[in-house]
Amino acid sequence: MRKKITRLFTCLVTLLFFHIALAQNRTVTGTVIDNNGTGIAGVTVSVKGTNVATQTDTTGAFSINAPENGTLVFSSVGYGTREIQIQGRSTVTATLTQQGTTLNEVVVVGYGTQRKIDVTGSVAQVKGEDIAKQPATNPVSALQGKVAGVQITNSGAPGASPQIRIRGVGTLYGSATPLYVVDGVWFDDISFLNPGDIESINILKDASSEAIYGVRAANGVVLVTTKRGRGRATVNYNGYVGVQQVTNQVEMANATEYATLINEMNVGQGAAAPFADPASYGEGTDWFDVVLRNAFTTNHHVSIGGGSERSTYNFSVGYLKQEGILEGNDYSRVTARLQSDVQVAKFLKLGYTAVLEGNHSNDAPAGLFYKAYTAAPVVPVKYADGSWGDPNDYPIGTATNNPALQLEVYDQESRNYRATGNIFGEITFNKNLSFRSSFGGEFGEGEVSFFNPVYYNPFEHPNQFPQGNTIQFNDTTLYRVTRSDTRNWIVENTLTYDQAIKDHRFKVLVGQSAQRYKFYKLEGKAEHVPNEREGDRYIRLGINSASRPNTVTDEGALDTYSSYFGRINYSFMNRYLLTASLRADGSSKFEGDERWGHFPSIGVGWVISDENFMNNQQIFDHLKLRGSWGKVGNASVTSNLSTQLVDRRGQLTAVIGGQPAPGASITTIVPPVIFWERGAGTDIGVEGSVLDKRLTFELDWYNRVTEDAIYDIPVLRSLGLSTNEIRGNQADIRNRGFEVSLGWRSEIGKDLSYSINGNLGINENKVLSVVTGQNPIYRGGAASTGGALATRTVAGQSIGQFFGYQVDGIFQTDAEAASSGLSGAKAGDFRYVDQNQDKVVDEKDRVVIGDPNAKYTFGLNTNFTYKAFDFTFDLQGVAGVDVYNANKGLRFGSENFSKDFYDNRWHGQGTSNEYPSANVGGRKNYLPNSWFVEDGSYVRIRNIQLGYTLPNTLTSKWGLNRIRVYANAQNALNFFSYTGFTPEVGAITTPGTVAPLNTGIDNGIYPLSATYNFGVNVSF
């Protein structure tokens, strides 16, 4: 394998230099400028009647080989098209007028591009420059608030991939994340891409556009096009440094308040008050202040690119170092990208893209934020003698720990290396017919290295060092290393036929694709590994005795896909549009007749504004009505669901004769067949522009039903299976909604131009029906809710709704509690509504208490340019969503409370009818109930950026084209009523947890931070 890779790279490097030899010397040079005389980058310059073309560089300059009597065609998104005859000149200056519309915008669709006006589905484009403007480390996180109907949930953890949902969630057990297609190669995650390398991101939102990606398209498709070189060789540098701070830090009870609460809790449980004098503890330790910090970020990105009509190249390197706001947590990433296209001959173009990425992180200990939330403020970080603060030294039990000690001893590093890319060849047989073949893939390697050092229990080993405390100690080192390999490839061949006959225009695409995805993970573990030198971290240095053996485990996955697809685009008079496609996908995940799935689509469009009867109206500059329907699939479900497997769990190993006797048996039944989750979606849209093309609008209504979603089939426990249920194609799930995008672009006077774009998505999620009937699935972070399940998914309701008791007050007296029908209740406990009025409050009285599926997502994005200044202001938010604040109720002993709880708690008759007593984690108070569910709506100033471009007169003196400096603030202001750090809570991501059923539960999530950056762009 290694040899193959070496060869591949030799080949790629050769290609890079190859194009230089092909440069020609008969050229026409020039500049493309706008009405203000500023150069326009990225304008396509082509020789009319040929396929010779180039693009302008960032200064607007171009250079092209053209006949003396030829005609040059200049075209660019937002500027329209202009033709200029060369007439023997060697220098040509073209002036393009900016248009207040994006009609000529070209969007990327599956296996090709299309003019936006020809598109019959719902496709949204975000430009690379808008992505690069945000200090986001992951390109997906930069999409937040940019596109109607696309909900991004960011995590504060450095290097973490955000959660993305396009038009809601249509699956339970399948993956809910979209397919990413980067330059034709398919991925589940694009965290390896440097945002600075992205030319554009196009999001296919409706089923008809997605259907060409068949089996992987059900959650939407995100098409990423990376930058290709153009024009004169240009070097661009973008760098920033910044600082991150936690936002909306939750204020916790101080030591005095804490001791008071713990006293109340104990008294409420019938025990004695453990703290004699709460006030004597003063303020105590603010654990969040201890573990959080101001964190620094540094980002550098350099790219060199250029090209002629015969060849292009682009090379970039990026470096990012991001500290986490948690002490000791950081993430760094190096990216390198190499791209070149070469027009080898008139009919043959070859090209490649290669992206290399390496990242490293010092990880945050799992659950640390929960530990910081609950840690007792009466405990100091360290005592005066330098030993660690120990909860056991206080009458508070062992449920809490010293988070500073946990951070100090935690040692886990992750590294990932990835090479991705593709090579392609494109043959143009004639002006109508072309063939493209591409081979791409991913070669990834990951390592997680965990080391648990020794830190002794000072009580048991008073003379051995280093020491922990009597709760957190470890007598034996443990080294655990996990290596994972990803080996994916995709081959695609497409044939495109393009023909225009009078008013009829056809474009026909047929293609074939094969893919293979292989994953393998190996984990080794050893105890008593020394910890003296860097070279000590080897499994082989473990003690490897009979009682402490070195162990190795592994797991893997292999999936293959084979596909055929075709599409026809037809337009008549550029007015009547038709798109139809069909894809057939076969997957190794399914068997027999269910192996192949077929995914058709059809879309129609009517450009009303081009009709004759519209000639006399003055309102619409452009108006298009479109409608589409398509089928998509979701194959991202567990493999082998319908294969009965032998159960070899270690649990089945017996002890016979004092020796281990490995066991195996059959502990499952399987559903008769499992097939694709099939989605069928309809989209009706209207788009256009008015007011001299300054106001653009796009409205969409969509209705998408996942048919035969994998759903639990409850099985009788008396079957004795190892699982609670089996899975089958059981449910229909619908996402229906409405999207609005409005754009306004204008100028005031000569110097001020601005644009304002707003978008709103409204989605309603519903499980329509389940074949096996009312068949609720209870989930929702048992670990976060003290063992009770907080969500329910059931036919007729949305996925993963919060489910529990409705609180209608607090029992003010024991007598009131005793007569309530809630067994064991006391004064200060929640009073739950007896929904069925049977005088007993029990499980049957639980109701829907909240919905983690956002109903509204919205964004407002603005750009202002005044002379040399530019200003960006972006707002973003969600509404109609709930968050389950599990931190408030997950208690096993003497955990801390928030200041808000202290201030509002019940502590005697009449003190509160909303907040319970300090015994909120006890009796039946901890059970999922409406008090834990809070409004998760928020509005945030996502991004503010002010830039200043230095005068040309100055920069040219330095031999530079352009210098721009900017200051930026991200997440600076957040508005919400939620009492946790942030209402932006995604799904629980613990392995084995099903995301859509465990969404919106906040159990010590990594808080978001506000980021303040100062940066510079330089190009020459």
């Binding site: 048991e460 999936d559 084979s562 004795g720 299976l721």
Partner: protein, 495 residues
Amino acid sequence: MSLINRSTYLTKVAAGSLVLLLLTQSACKKDFLEVDPQGQTPSEQFWITQEDATRAVNAIYGNLNDWELVAFAPIAIESLGSDETEKGSSPGDAAFLNDYDNFTVSAAQGQIQDFWIGQYRSINLANQVLDNVPGITMDENLKTRYLAEAKFVRAYNYFRLVRAFGDVPLRLTVPKATEEFNIPRTPKAEVWAAIEKDLTDAAAVLPVSYGPADIGRATKGAALALHAKVAMYQTRENAGRWQDVLNYTNQVIGLGVYSLFPDFEKLFRIQNENNQESVFEIQSAVIPTITDASNSQYSQVQGVRGVSWGGWGFNVPTIELVNAFDAADPRKDATIIFRGETTPEGDAIPPTGDNPRYNQKSYVPSSQHKPGFSEGAEQNIRVIRYAEVLLMNAEAANEQGDATKARQSLNAVRARVGLPAVTTSDKNALRLAIWNERRVELAMEFDRYFDVIRQGRGAEVFGAKGWKAGKNEVWPIPQNEIDISAGVLTQNPGY
């Protein structure tokens, strides 16, 4: 570029694309989409060799110390209802367990369901063997024994089920067709009959004892002793069954391989597992290479709370149990760890803490703890001890009018701990003496609750805690199971 040149180029290109097509052709082959389960064995490749049979039988034993079979669920269903234990731990921890102590439990509560799940999982593993091993070509003697072992375990699980729930769905084969999935509750008499058939079959085949390599497997004695207990639990409906209890216990005694272990306290320590008194024990161990096989939590959940080597402190002895022991009875100290004491193995128990007492029979001294594993994960669970066989023998003899024999067996148990012999010949007095002996001899061994019900004294002994005759003889059928059955399963009266 000339036309000729161009066609040469085209040829090259055609050749090039042909290579690519060939490359993809391999992907289009039919078997490209045939991918084996990765790192997993499909069931078609099982039930073929003798080794498969061995592993499937191992699985039955391996599963016996599963959480649902030895931890919270048995504590809730088989212990807390009694007068010898209460919830323990800290007041707020797993407060739902109080509902089993107070008889306020509802059918939807988790431990009801867990207990059900645990037993039926074990039954499935036995049924898998009983269905599939007969078809395997292997050593016939071994095969016969394997089937007998499976029957013993199946009988043990059905015994626990019928005791806890009364009528339960009786599955004696692995259901194949969909209509076999959802079956109604089988009347308890039929369940008892099935249990007894399994035990009769097992006793006929199982060896009296095994060589060292097979210690832990079910023996003839285990099948007979369990059969005696099964018969004893039916004596309220049919007093004639006392003769069976007597016969089976006599047979166990007659095997001549069992005797009482001299030191009652040491009887329960790890180094004395599988001793001469052991009739059936669930084997547990720490196998460092297989952590999943090393996490029996039987000892941990009951372990002393509040010490670094300790456990969770559930299912703690009540003051009523303390008072049940004679002052001179050494079993009190051997059965109960008192707050502030130092155990015979040298563990100092803090004088303060959540609970005044803990179970000493499940206790594993700190010196024997294996870091990285559940506290006391090595502790075997004593299911049937010879002492219980003697006490059943005594009770049966007394019921059948043989006071001499009854006293002989009863006093053997008392003599081991140095207590004076019971001398009464009065049938009722002797019965009470035997019942009381069971209470103190088998204390904290998950016997007391159902034993009292079996004696017909539920209301008398537990009534003060809320136990009601006509309802609390059995627990409710899990509500979830009833829901899934769409009404095929019925609920017990009063729930």
